[in-house]
């Protein structure tokens, strides 16, 4: 399977995503420069974490207009798989490829820590290697991860199964304390209506090496995509 990881000038986890895909998962992955328009025949695009264009205005607001995003919108339209992680999620929302928006954390502070998220829909290309209700340990690190969308939209998303992950306590239960950024309905990750574009705030690429760093639960998401593309 061929992967493309997009590098914006302020991307930070681009190399980490590439490392996870190539070195840990043995995938064929290449970096895509934001000024390019060709995607090189990849099967899945990863929009990595970071601060794409400095993100001083709103995260992802400027990246959305880069040349490569035009191609990615088309790619998504044709059914291609797109995964936005953290800043990538923010960009996909700004680009209207995913519903909702990501606003400042309730605490107003940047938060870097391990969190636990619960899989809400295991029948999607991003989650098929997991079980519904399974709790995954994956780190977050962001200042603007509070997911918001209009109530009516949220209801529709829930009905269609577009809410993929929620922040929960390690035992899988919902609680105020387990929601690190104040996201509505504790949403940590979503899909579009067609289930080919995904966004999540936690960083699966930082949870691929077990004991060594952040755990290995992120692998399940990448394995899901690999299965899906088969």
């Amino acid at each position: 399977m061929k992967w493309g990881v997009v590098r914006f000038p302020g991307s930070l986890d681009d190399d980490d995503a590439l490392y996870a895909l190539r070195e840990v998962l043995g995938q064929d992955a290449r970096m895509l420069w934001h000024k390019e328009e060709t995607l090189g025949g990849v099967h899945c695009i990863v929009l990595p974490g970071g601060f794409s264009y400095g993100d001083y205005l709103r995260s992802g607001a400027i990246a959305r207009f880069s040349p490569i995003m035009r191609s990615i919108a088309k790619f998504a339209d044709d059914g291609g798989l797109v995964l936005g992680i953290c800043n990538g999620f923010q960009i996909l929302c700004e680009a209207h490829l995913l519903p909702g928006a990501l606003t400042r954390n309730r605490s107003l502070a940047f938060i870097c820590e391990q969190v636990t998220i619960r899989v809400e829909n295991a029948r999607t290309p991003l989650t098929r290697a997991t079980r519904a209700g399974e709790v995954l340990r994956i780190p977050i690190k962001h200042g603007e991860g509070c997911y918001v969308a209009p109530e009516s939209e949220l209801r529709a998303m829930e009905e269609r199964g577009q809410v993929l992950f929620r922040y929960v306590a390690p035992d899988g239960g919902l609680s105020e304390a387990a929601n690190p950024n104040g996201s509505m309905r504790a949403i940590a990750g979503v899909a579009n209506e067609r289930f080919n574009v995904f966004g999540l705030m936690p960083h699966p690429e930082h949870a691929v090496e077990g004991e060594l760093t952040g755990g290995a639960d992120g692998l399940k998401l990448f394995h899901s995509l690999i299965e899906a593309a088969r």
């Binding site: 302020g10 940047f110 938060i111 870097c112 760093t213």
Partner: protein, 737 residues
């Protein structure tokens, strides 16, 4: 060819009074006149003032810093470059340095701390090393001082705001609160970068006729006389008037510079490169020319300006952030410029290297400065300032105010912001970007892997100002020992030191004495551990209204793992393991947090036996290598019980049952010379005794699966309850309004 430089119309006449206002003494001004053979122009006066300031010239400290051991088998790169470098094996070189940004952070905490982080990161990548880890050491006033919370949240926000956005993980640090810093906080920022051996960049200009190139943000009026003069004078009401425009950091611009500069270096066309830090364009240009023994000419009309109307004086002295100066091989400008364009940066030719040893600046067809490069780069004044111990000790021992019950003392210590968890601080830092962080904040030292290698690094930053207040020499020795211990507790071999020496006004004999004793302590400890001091920074004038901070030498130390699989963590792992302590001397209350809370501090630090300290380090390393240990932790603030609890606060919710401690306050809460807590299987204890001899290996209890702390008949406490006190120590004080 060079016309005699002249001041511009409207600029003030230069005389001794104006020189004085620029911080130059009468003697220094006389030296300027002698070096030039004429009265300086207004621009030249500004240039001399910044280059001869304490901050840029180290005029009070240089003589003493020469005492430090700066060489060693691993040290690469000559002295005089921007940061020290250490060979760490497998063809890798680590470049690291720590620097202060104290005054700017007190004035505007967010931007001050942010630009401190930005500045130290530039110091590292300017050497051709990719920045891979940051640390910081922070000192604030008492938490109940009205300004402390504002300063704390601003500084921490600024460090995170900048570091998180440039993608350099912040992997360790320290935070302390003490009323001595009410009027002068300390913000010391560290960065480490990695380069392939042989790819280090130089800051030594060569090649007459080579173009000088400017890249990065445009020049504004920020921080004129900022780092240089502000950090070279006491901070009092009068300096409010001198207050420079605050420098604002632009981390995105820095990120572009990191990537573009590292990529441009790969062309091989860059002869020399230096960031524009304190004294901006002036220092970077004169230092690069000075190292190469050449001259340099700048065309100020070509400097990109953020707003119109900047004078040559302002352009040369601006401390605008995120700017770099390069010397490029003639004819290869376009190649270099293309790399910068890729990153949406513009490389502008603003001058050239000359052979006449002069530092010359032109503006609108006129020469506004023409100074021998050496006068700026190497001939700044040098002082041997008088030093004398103070009449009375800085901090006398308090009479024991009261002797709390041990249970009460432990709770008070855990809830103290100096002892309790610093998670509130470090969760605001991205500690994992770059995927190398095997242990981030929260342990004795951070542990980083080096991808594609079995090797790794450990990093720690430590200071012990309360000990330095009792004895500036022993306090510094103790700090170096603590740093080495923190590394050894992870299994890494200490390999090199960088340091930031924060003191008061060096024109006062007792401050100069504190400083000299600190440097002597650093020297002696570094020699004892065979550690080179590869870089450092001195911050004087940390005083307000005649009241100085505690002497605060901050020591950052880097350790090497040959085999990263040998690393240790502080947390107990197996119920049934023996809990063992190893000490170099009896613990004492001197300079302890217990003494700070309850009085009862010894007036004197106990002497430190560096041979025993070294045994301890070597023992830890050997035990780690033979995989005899399941955990290791250095006992620091709060003493033995706090250390034990920290070892219990892992993911596994284990406990400790102690039967081998005497239960005296000194034993339970004393700090003082070194103690480490290790856990090991019972059948390993004999091997440990052999390894650590002549130090005593004392089994004091067992790791239990019950999450309780049981000390003889003294306590039986719930670990989870104590952990809550520890975890909430800072949030409870900060988040209640």
């Amino acid at each position: 060819m060079s016309a005699t430089p002249a001041s511009l119309p409207g600029e003030p006449a230069v005389d001794q009074a104006l020189a004085r206002a620029h911080g130059l003494s009468a003697d220094e001004y006389a030296a300027v006149l002698a070096r030039l053979g004429r009265v300086p122009t207004f621009t030249e006066l500004g240039v001399f003032a910044v280059m001869w300031s304490e901050h840029c010239s180290y005029k009070s400290s240089r003589k003493h810093l020469r005492m430090l051991p700066m060489t060693g088998p691993r040290v690469v790169g000559g002295p005089g470059e921007n940061a020290g470098a250490l060979e760490i094996g497998d063809g890798w070189v680590a470049v690291f340095k720590i620097e202060s940004h104290n005054h700017p952070s007190y004035v505007e905490p967010y931007q001050g701390a942010a630009t401190g982080v930005g500045g130290i990161i530039r110091d590292i990548f300017t050497m051709g090393a990719r920045p891979v880890a940051s640390m910081n050491s922070l000192k604030f006033g008492a938490l109940d001082h009205p300004r402390t919370r504002y300063l704390l949240s601003g500084v921490v926000g600024g460090i995170g705001g900048y570091g998180n956005c440039v993608g350099v993980p912040t992997v360790a640090g320290e935070v302390m609160f003490d009323a001595a810093y009410n009027g002068n906080i300390l913000v010391n920022a560290f960065c480490l970068g990695l380069a392939r051996k042989g790819e280090l960049q130089s800051a030594r200009a060569h090649g007459v006729g080579n173009p000088v190139i400017y890249v990065g943000s445009a020049t504004g009026r920020d921080g004129i006389h900022g780092a240089s003069l502000l950090a070279s004078a006491e901070f009092d009401a009068a300096s409010a008037a001198k207050r420079p425009t605050v420098q604002v950091g632009d981390p995105f611009a820095e990120k572009l510079l990191i990537e573009a500069c590292l990529e441009a270096m790969k062309t091989g066309a860059i002869v020399a490169i230096q960031d524009m830090g304190a004294a901006g364009l002036t220092s970077s240009s004169s230092e690069m020319a000075g190292r190469g023994g050449l001259g340099i000419e700048l065309d100020l009309d070509r400097i990109p300006l953020r707003e119109p109307g900047l004078t040559p004086y302002e352009i040369l002295l601006s401390e605008s952030q995120e700017r770099m100066l390069l010397v490029v091989e003639k004819g290869r400008e376009a190649e270099v410029a293309a790399v910068f364009e890729k990153w949406d940066l513009h490389a502008l030719v603003v001058g050239r290297i000359t052979d006449d040893g002069r530092w010359r600046a032109r503006y609108r067809g006129q020469v506004v400065a023409d100074i021998p490069v050496k006068a700026l780069s190497s001939e700044a004044p040098l002082y041997d300032r008088p030093a004398a111990p103070p009449a009375a000790p800085l901090r006398a021992a308090d009479a024991p105010a009261r002797a709390p019950a041990p249970r009460e003392a432990l709770r008070a210590l855990l809830a103290s912001p100096n002892v309790g968890s610093k998670r509130w601080v470090f969760r605001q830092y991205d500690a994992i970007v770059q995927s190398n962080t095997l242990a981030g904040p929260g342990g004795d030292a951070a542990v980083l892997r080096i991808k594609g290698s079995r090797r790794g690094l450990a990093l720690t930053v430590d200071s012990n100002p309360r000990a330095c207040a009792l004895d500036p020499y022993l306090g510094t020795v103790a700090t170096v020992c603590e740093a080495a211990r923190n590394l050894a507790c992870t299994g890494a071999r200490p390999a090199g030191i960088t340091n930031c020496l924060n003191y008061g006004n060096p024109e006062r004999a007792e401050i100069m004495w504190q400083f000299r004793r600190g440097v002597e302590g650093l020297r002696d400890a570094a020699i004892a551990f065979e550690l080179p001091v590869v870089s450092g920074n001195v911050s004087f004038y940390n005083e307000t209204a005649g009241r100085a901070i505690l002497p605060t030498p901050t020591i950052a130390m880097v350790g090497i793992f040959e085999e990263i699989g040998q690393r240790l963590a502080i947390h107990f792992r197996r119920p049934g393991d023996c809990i063992v302590i190893i000490r170099t001397a009896a613990p004492s209350m001197a300079a302890s947090e217990y003494a700070a809370l309850f009085g009862a501090g010894d007036a004197r630090l106990a002497p430190i036996d560096l041979n025993r300290e070294r045994r301890l380090i070597e023992g830890l390393l050997k035990a780690a290598e033979r995989r005899l240990l399941n955990s290791a932790h250095d006992v620091a603030d709060g003493g033995l019980l706090v250390g034990l609890l920290e070892a219990c606060f892992g993911d596994h919710a284990l406990g400790a049952h102690l039967d081998g401690v005497d239960g005296s306050p000194d034993e339970l809460f004393g700090e003082g010379p070194s103690t480490v807590i290790i856990s090991a299987a019972a059948d390993k204890v004999d091997a440990l005794r052999e390894i650590f001899a002549p130090l005593e290996v004392r089994v004091i209890g067992r790791v239990t699966s019950q999450p309780r702390l049981i000390v003889g008949t003294l306590f039986d406490e719930s670990i989870n309850e104590l952990r809550l006190l520890y975890d909430q120590a800072l949030p409870r004080r900060l988040e209640l309004t």
